[in-house]
Subunit: 441 residues, 3 copies
Amino acid sequence: MTIGHDIYQFVKELYPICRSLTGEGVRETLKRIQHHIPTLKIHNIPSGTRVFDWTVPDEWNIKEAYILDKTSGGKIVDFKENNLHIVSYSIPIEQEMTFEELDAHLYSLPDKPNAIPYITSYYKKWWGFCITAEQHNELKKDPKKKYSVRINSTLRPGHLNYGELIISGETKNEILLSTYICHPSMANNELSGPCVTTALAQWIQNELKNRHFTYRILFLVETIGSIAYLSQHRNELKKQVSAGFVITCVGDNNAYSYVASRYGNTLADKVAKHILNHHYPHYKSYSFLERGSDERQYCSPGIDLPVCSICRSKYKEYPEYHTSLDNLSFVSPEGLQGGFDVYQKIIILLEHNKYYECTTYCEPQLSRRELYPTLSAIKPNRKQVWDIMNVIAYADGQNDLIDIAEKIQVDAITLLPIVDQLIYHGILRERKSLKIKQAAE
Amino acid sequence: MTIGHDIYQFVKELYPICRSLTGEGVRETLKRIQHHIPTLKIHNIPSGTRVFDWTVPDEWNIKEAYILDKTSGGKIVDFKENNLHIVSYSIPIEQEMTFEELDAHLYSLPDKPNAIPYITSYYKKWWGFCITAEQHNELKKDPKKKYSVRINSTLRPGHLNYGELIISGETKNEILLSTYICHPSMANNELSGPCVTTALAQWIQNELKNRHFTYRILFLVETIGSIAYLSQHRNELKKQVSAGFVITCVGDNNAYSYVASRYGNTLADKVAKHILNHHYPHYKSYSFLERGSDERQYCSPGIDLPVCSICRSKYKEYPEYHTSLDNLSFVSPEGLQGGFDVYQKIIILLEHNKYYECTTYCEPQLSRRELYPTLSAIKPNRKQVWDIMNVIAYADGQNDLIDIAEKIQVDAITLLPIVDQLIYHGILRERKSLKIKQAAE
Amino acid sequence: MTIGHDIYQFVKELYPICRSLTGEGVRETLKRIQHHIPTLKIHNIPSGTRVFDWTVPDEWNIKEAYILDKTSGGKIVDFKENNLHIVSYSIPIEQEMTFEELDAHLYSLPDKPNAIPYITSYYKKWWGFCITAEQHNELKKDPKKKYSVRINSTLRPGHLNYGELIISGETKNEILLSTYICHPSMANNELSGPCVTTALAQWIQNELKNRHFTYRILFLVETIGSIAYLSQHRNELKKQVSAGFVITCVGDNNAYSYVASRYGNTLADKVAKHILNHHYPHYKSYSFLERGSDERQYCSPGIDLPVCSICRSKYKEYPEYHTSLDNLSFVSPEGLQGGFDVYQKIIILLEHNKYYECTTYCEPQLSRRELYPTLSAIKPNRKQVWDIMNVIAYADGQNDLIDIAEKIQVDAITLLPIVDQLIYHGILRERKSLKIKQAAE
């Protein structure tokens, strides 16, 4: 079984839960993640808490919601069949009305006739049902027909929840992985995100040895969740995060996408672009102007964290996005595996992305370490020999490993064994201090 | 009546006056400008004054100049008919001579047979007449024919004149507008310049409220005028000028042109290119290597003012340039209006080109200010919403408004109401100090 | 007779000598160079001396080497006929063997059937013969045939030799010219290098007057020679060298090539690219990733000298490279003259590449120095006038002459008389100090 299959199973498990900004669905999702990562801590922030310019909203829970055809007595729309049928944060209602009255609360997508749209009204009291355009058109035929509408929901002071996992490393420098858990039954956006992140957390915790970085892994609700978290942890994040990633839409098999940080010039962007260029060269690059997830908060003025995002098919860029068509058929084990792989490569490269310097002036004598042919007639692995010589040439303490790889036009991942070999032979060492770099800045 | 028509009327009024580096023509022109801007101050600098590497020349005045056909007794060339007929700064002469002798003092343009060229000899004593090539060819047929030549001019110690208008603003930071008044009867180069500048001065003085900048508006003669002015005001200009523009050739309807400052990287260049790119995208861009007016002095080493130029058809780049064909038909009310408009836009943008910063961390909650839809199904003016969010994203105190507009790829002018709205809602404020910027420099 | 012919004669003279890393061949070569440049100093470093990561090897000398056909008694391969027949640094041997045994020590090039390859084994004890593939194939037909092999060579403690010439100038700032003398009979790589360098040394010493720079001209063996030299002179070179060039492969008539320094951004790169762009615009540009000669040492981390290289057909890039086909027919007087010319231009430009500044603010009055027409009708040499005005415009103390030439898009060599003229007229002067530049850094 591949990691992709395991992740797909977890997506399936979480799929039926009705998540929203707050409520039982979020807590249930966090508990199931905690089942895979027992060290995950689940936190809560009370409704009404001020978080920067925002206020934590009341907690929303829902038990039942349907539209009843008064004539036939049958339920024509039922939340139990698909939790997308209800506008998220719908207030309770129990009332009879004609289609004409009901229609102000019905949402469908004329250009996607068989899709149920995903709609929310978090910050304005409202109720509504989402249906397919096919059904909507059918209902429109009889405007005077009577329906009974019932939404059994509650909107009361409660909590905003999030999961936080800190996996410590040799230094306090952090890699931040952030994903979200506020969407109901949709697969690529969003369940691929928390499920791939869970697999990454397990791999980091159990298999990534001698971690240079500390890892901060967050399972939040989008926007208000990251804003609330930042309102509590801004200073330590600003001090400690070296690179961060918003993990979302990593489950389909169609594309790779990169969404830049505010200026596109952070370590996170550098490593993301390097890995994508060398391993997924057909990826699509989006500027910060096309952002849409929690990089909106992480990269906001005064927060300024080095955070970008790598997706497969990016939110807003595929027709199934934010509809019932973004379902378990849209994602796949292979797609999820690909999402896992790209972040795994990024983490491996970040862990080895040191500033190196030579231990000698001029070229070292490679031939006596058997790193260079002794006889000029021998042309062994020329690329290997040149990579060695080029790493040495640019290991001047001014370049990190990605800089070196960019300069010598190779995949930095292929340089990892070379760097190990050169350190073993005493030719290369980590730069002792940041003095040179700091002086240059 | 449009502003363009008013400017055109003023061009017509000034057209007949015989201007040169010095003399009554310059003073008369300045007086008529003063008629429209009573606060204009007219200054004079005595002949013989050393101004950097130059010396203010003697004042030149002319009453009469003609060539008489001794045979017929008729004037074949007469300054009264077109003041371009006389080489500017011609010394007096009264003499009979054959065509052969006269011909060393006759100037025409073989490739423009019906155009009288514009010729000067400011710094070497000389006399001459400018005629059409058609007439020149006719005269050549009888080389022995006798003519009587008379130039009734004076070249005596007097004054170099210029007009200076200071319109004060909230700060001592200045916008410099410089134009010239030394060419005889030509319309695009030069009368469009001082006439558009006069209209701009009126608009700034009467209609541009709460001016951040102080405006220094200069009506000088080209080269010696700007050199003389700089020799008196170099230090204050260097300290105070934030952006400046040489206003010339802004009257025809054929083109927009941009002439860069010495390195093309000043605030003047930045605002000019932004406005041209968004409002006149077909403009032609010229480097400083194609300069030709007083930016030659303003951008010289040690002066180093942030000055560029926007023209319509640029000097030297249209066939009518420096001939009698650059006349009242070559310019138009629409052309002059266009010249006025581009500078007006530049000034409006400069007045609002502050460094802004957000008042909160993370995104502010736009929906409760009705700047963002409360229901995710509503897609109102998406561009408007995104412009708001993007302004906030880049209002980090490091970017002035033009920087923000460039980064978010919109016309900065369209951001002015958005900035007002965000300031009104307390989301945005002007950056308090320049500390961040200065630290970064 | 051209310089090219003289250089070609010198190539012919040095061609038969069997050079290697050490030994009589190197010393003989240095003595013949000394014959042309009597002030050349010949230095030696004892075998066994540690030089950074390397050790100076034993000295190798060879008197005789051949393969004898035991059947016919004839020599089928003889070092006397072509010194490429012997693998450089071959240890002595005298032995009979079959072709099968011999074959492990035979080297040929299947894709160049009539070429003898050039092979070395400096740092591993080994012996071998280099032959054409044609001969190799012939020998393979009789694997059991007997041969007698004799190499009469010695490998004993001795010396590493190099030639060093210092031609002093007005300042201690240095131009470094480095070439090598370790290859046996090959013409483009390498004899063109030392022979062109000898001619340049003569020209600098005898004809280049009022030298601003001191010239350090080195005749070294490749790699171990430059490493040994740098181990002795690193500090003074780092302090004094303004620009340096590795002179090699400058004798054929087919191409011009440029090999960049480590970051491609030194004064050496700047002047090289400027001269090539304006005088040899079809040259081929190589990055430091395609380096191959002593720039490998000069540009190594911690050495960091501003050294690049200009070649004609670059080493490794022509089929005759490192074979017997790189012979006296491959180079030509014209090719060598071209190699001399490009470096001569570079040196002339470097000698004049000062930072200039204007002596006045604003434009100087050129017409009274007869550098500008007094009558606006006169259009003399417009390019000349504009070059004058443009030099003045960018002579702000921030640009050296090459910077100015790049900005005004002309060949810097054409500006040399203009600069002289402007200095003569007191309009331009050398910048007095580096204050402005240093402040900007």
